[in-house]
Symmetry: C2
Subunit: 202 residues, 2 copies
């Protein structure tokens, strides 16, 4: 089942914090719990230091974006920074190369706009942040936007709803690639049980 060992997460100026931090938490905890099934996720910066949207932090990644990066799973988060990526042909070409080299690419939130722009969602159902639905349709009118699903999986291309949906998509992928046991252990580790949260409040 598990041929997904190398996971990488793209980070760029004005990335939305939870878009990248959610998947990074889930996959790095999975590696912490069972380092045999997946490596420690790498973070891929479009620059050596990128600033995070809305918040006063900047993050230093361990890899710079390059067309030579080979991943099994490539995660593209969203954020306002995606808008300028859509206009940056050189950057898009590099991202495209990482997608081509990856077995699976999964977007969170407006990360899907990059996939739409590059043609990966043509004639497919896909989802995105609620505020980006029109822009997604303008980028590629053959996309059927389905906002009833938390995430939509086409095997090699996956899209998820906005921001916090990256956490749920990551658990879905953990279970798919590594099985329910590891997924459940990570849920326990980060104490994330959406169905129970509403019942346990003070």
């Amino acid at each position: 089942m598990s041929e997904i060992k190398k996971v990488g997460i793209l980070v760029f100026n004005d990335v939305e914090i939870l878009d990248y931090a959610g998947p990074l938490q889930v996959f790095s905890a999975a590696n912490y719990i069972d380092s045999d099934v997946l490596k420690s996720p790498i973070t891929i910066g479009t620059k050596s230091k990128v600033s995070v949207s809305k918040s006063k932090i900047s993050i230093t990644c361990n890899k710079r974006l390059s067309s030579r990066i080979k991943l099994d799973l490539f995660i593209i988060p969203g954020g306002f920074g995606t808008r300028s990526i859509l206009e940056d042909k050189k950057l898009l070409a590099k991202i495209d190369r990482v997608i081509i080299n990856a077995k699976v690419t999964a977007s969170v939130c407006t990360g899907s706009l990059i996939l739409a722009k590059l043609g990966y969602l043509s004639n497919k159902t896909a989802t995105t942040h609620f505020a980006a639905v029109d822009l997604m349709r303008r980028l590629d009118e053959t996309i059927t936007v389905d906002r009833t699903k938390r995430y939509i999986d086409h095997g090699d291309i996956i899209t998820a709803e906005g921001v916090s949906a990256g956490i749920d998509m990551s658990f879905y992928l953990l279970e798919k690639f590594y099985g329910k046991l590891l997924s459940d252990e990570v849920r326990k580790y980060i104490e994330y049980y959406p169905e129970a949260i509403e019942n346990s409040k003070t």
Copy 2:
């Protein structure tokens, strides 16, 4: 109602990623939606650059920890890094000063161990990460650990369960300090509806 304008989040070496990123996402989105009710949250680093637990990123904060920092709400995340803070009297004294100067202090996960060590949870009910319950009791045997609640609010001191609970605690505090309208708008913005997530999966 709203006298909580200045929010600050502590960040230290080996902080757990979602412990700080969850609250930072929620409070920075709240500031983005209504900058009149709260300022952009500040991130307070124990060093100019801190490394994040389990992941290959380091973050640069906009403030350094100092006993002169005055906040309305001080958020203390958890992570393995809390263990060495418990042994660092100088650092503990600085954190204590920020707590004394703040109107409200809220911990996520093992951030509560710092509150326990400093005596803020004496004779109180409190919660923490499931794996830290024994350590919390050893730090202060007068604490009643209650693991049935997502977060426990004593007015000026709040503790939450592990990792992802920081998101839920932050929404609880948003609603308490700024009202349900803003809390609901932030929920919508980050598309976080725990009770609905389980029903919307692909």
